[in-house]
Symmetry: C2
Subunit: 420 residues, 2 copies
């Protein structure tokens, strides 16, 4: 049973037809992709989704928006509004990264209200429980972690980030890498601390079969986290990053054998001239599993505008084959994002994804731009607005300084080059 | 006499030492670049500049901000504020593209107030004079055009866009290209109309030596305009665009022979997978002249956010060798930009330029990011702010939701991965 099994055996499954319809491609391509593990469809068996979302080869590049409370700022209503803003802006998935307040309740309300797949990082809740018991994060217990994973999966989470590639062996490599920013993945940093303090192996690695069993039980997609993702461009593509990636590839293989859907997460901060290599090595070592990249940010000095820095890297990464982009907001590196940051972050990531889709042969992508260009030449402002990535903002921006001649805009007025 | 002649003969010239100092490279590299025509330093003999700006090989990628009135919106004070905002945001040059109001007066005030090089597109004023005489734009007269050029150069303009590659021969190619968006360069469209109506050659081409004489007289840099720049991604890299480019390369050669500085303008709208080819062919056909690209925009559907679309293309183009990026604002395709659009447009273009400088070996670029990363790891928020691309915005954004523990931020709070 389960989606992968259905796809492999050619058993009819509504998720396959939903994805095929949404992407305007054949069910056979989707079925083959799921069966081969090059496409995932994150959806928990216990969840009803308004929108089924496929991620992977041949499919439109998807965008995830991270929301969630932090110890410094706990406001469930605001997080629900962020979720709505992200969906309105066109996000294909939401991750609830809450670490402040009643996490079970927050997740429950997000799962209820959210029309698209929801992901989590269970180790965050395990860390919160550890700290609540007045213990250090490094004392995080494997049983607490697995309890949280089981609870979150039972609750209906569609995909979970699990940093299974942080191992005693890869931590050894980290120690010799001379990084400037060290470990910047929150979950990754917890596991590194635990390994260093206890000398014991990461339970997500040593008990990976147990993790697969839970994932299989609820048909939860594993998002194999990049705990060693570079946190600055200097650290990009270093030995521990690639060592972790090669572990993740092996875990993708075991997930496939178990009939569990898996994708691989990627960096992070990567200079422009290393993005292609990062994508290609991740596709190769990851055995073609869908790639889920955060950014990448192409420089380190643009805090306050990192939605732009990430859009640059994300566009390039997606053009080279990344399937799923995690947005970065303008608040990154500075504070928890607000509703406006979330909205604009999603749009920026969608622009990156679409620019990539145009050149990687995604069905219908290029046609949208050609249609827009025809309406632009025809000075058909209504159609331009409808086709634009954010029709509401299109209208709002144009209305700020309306032209005397409604056919043109106030940039060139009567000198509009589009006029004959 | 003149900068090129001084550079060729090894005569001391303050512009050479100013550029070398600003870029932290040797005077010899700058001298050789100016002599070879791979570096230009736009500065009119009649002008005093607070900031000398070099553009070209080995130098930091520069950013230009377009400002100026349109027939629909004439407010000199606002344009001066836009100029100030652009300079405050870090623009290296300003183009005054005014087409509404008293153009001579507007330009005079901008030239007086602006600390960086100022460029213009003289054919705009020639078009305004033509329309003022109740004539059609297609009836634009060559004597009016050359009068305007001479007047603007005498007034102190540092560089001028001249669409010399729109010729009878390249218009013939345009006619067969099947473009979706036709000609979107304003100046280019005026010249195409004139050629089509009169059957006569473009005076900027047929009387190019006259143009060179004026440029030489005031040491004005020619920015050889891309009148056939693609106005949508479908039209990118087509025959008329490349034909115009090959004409421009020939004109670069003649400019060099005359001791006139010249750069070449580039597109426009270009899909991600054609940017490298566009830059390389422009560098080759342009004989290594500095490249000045507008964008490029990597898709057509993002009006309202085209500063982001352009930053994606601009970063990639600059990484492949573009030397000078003309910003695109969020208002592009919708209306004349306001002050905020100008500011944010410059920042977006600077991010693109810096991300490129890190990977094309510009002195000091990579070091900035490494320094930032060290301060980020050290949680030194004051130094991070000082080093960031926009310190004011850094402070403003962080203050929106201040953390309880001043060492971290409200994204992760006590779970900050950067903390030990």
């Amino acid at each position: 049973m389960g989606l992968v099994s259905d796809a492999a055996k050619g058993i009819k499954n509504d998720l396959i037809s939903s994805v095929a319809k949404a992407e305007n491609i054949s069910e056979e391509i989707v079925r083959k992709g799921i069966s081969a593990g090059t496409i995932v469809v994150p959806k928990n068996l216990n969840r009803t989704l308004k929108k089924i979302v496929g991620v992977g080869q041949h499919l439109k590049t998807k965008v995830n928006a991270n929301i969630g409370t932090s110890p410094d700022h706990i406001d469930l209503d605001e997080e629900l509004k962020k979720m709505q803003a992200a969906v309105e802006a066109g996000a294909d998935a939401i991750m609830d990264l809450s670490t402040g307040g009643n996490l079970t309740q927050i997740r429950k309300e997000i799962l209820q209200a959210c029309p698209v797949p929801v992901g989590t990082v269970p180790i965050y809740e395990a860390a919160c429980r550890t700290v609540a018991k007045k213990k250090k994060i490094s004392e995080i217990e494997s049983e607490v972690l697995f309890d949280v994973i089981e609870e979150q999966c039972a609750q209906g989470v569609d995909f979970i980030t699990v940093h299974c590639g942080i191992t005693k062996a890869t931590v050894d490599i980290l120690n010799t890498d001379g990084r400037l920013a060290g470990v910047v993945s929150r979950g990754g940093s917890f596991l590194v601390k635990a390994i260093k303090a206890s000398g014991k192996e990461n339970p997500l690695y040593s008990q990976y079969d147990r993790l697969l069993d839970i994932a299989k039980k609820y048909d939860v997609t594993l998002s194999l986290g990049d705990g060693f993702r570079p946190g600055c461009t200097f650290d990009a593509t270093d030995a521990c990053q690639i060592a972790e990636l090669s572990v993740l590839g092996q875990l993708v293989r075991r997930a496939r054998q178990a009939g569990v859907q898996a994708m691989i997460e990627g960096p992070g901060h990567v200079p422009l001239n290393q993005i292609q290599a990062n994508v290609e090595i991740a596709k190769k070592l990851g055995l073609g599993a869908p790639l889920y990249f955060l950014g990448p940010l192409v420089c380190d000095i643009a805090a306050g505008y990192d939605h732009i820095t990430a859009a640059i890297g994300g566009a390039l990464a997606a053009a080279y084959g990344v399937d799923f982009i995690c947005y970065v907001t303008a608040a990154e590196h500075l504070r928890l994002p607000d509703i406006e940051d979330v909205y604009e972050g999603v749009i920026a990531a969608r622009i990156a994804g679409h620019a990539a889709d145009m050149v990687k042969g995604v069905a219908g992508a290029r046609e949208m731009d050609n249609e827009m260009s025809k309406y632009r030449k025809a000075l058909d402002w209504q159609k331009m607005q409808e086709l634009s990535i954010d029709p509401k903002n299109f209208a709002k921006q144009r209305a700020k300084l309306p032209p005397q001649d409604k056919n043109v805009c106030t940039m060139c007025g009567e000198f509009c080059a589009m006029k004959d």
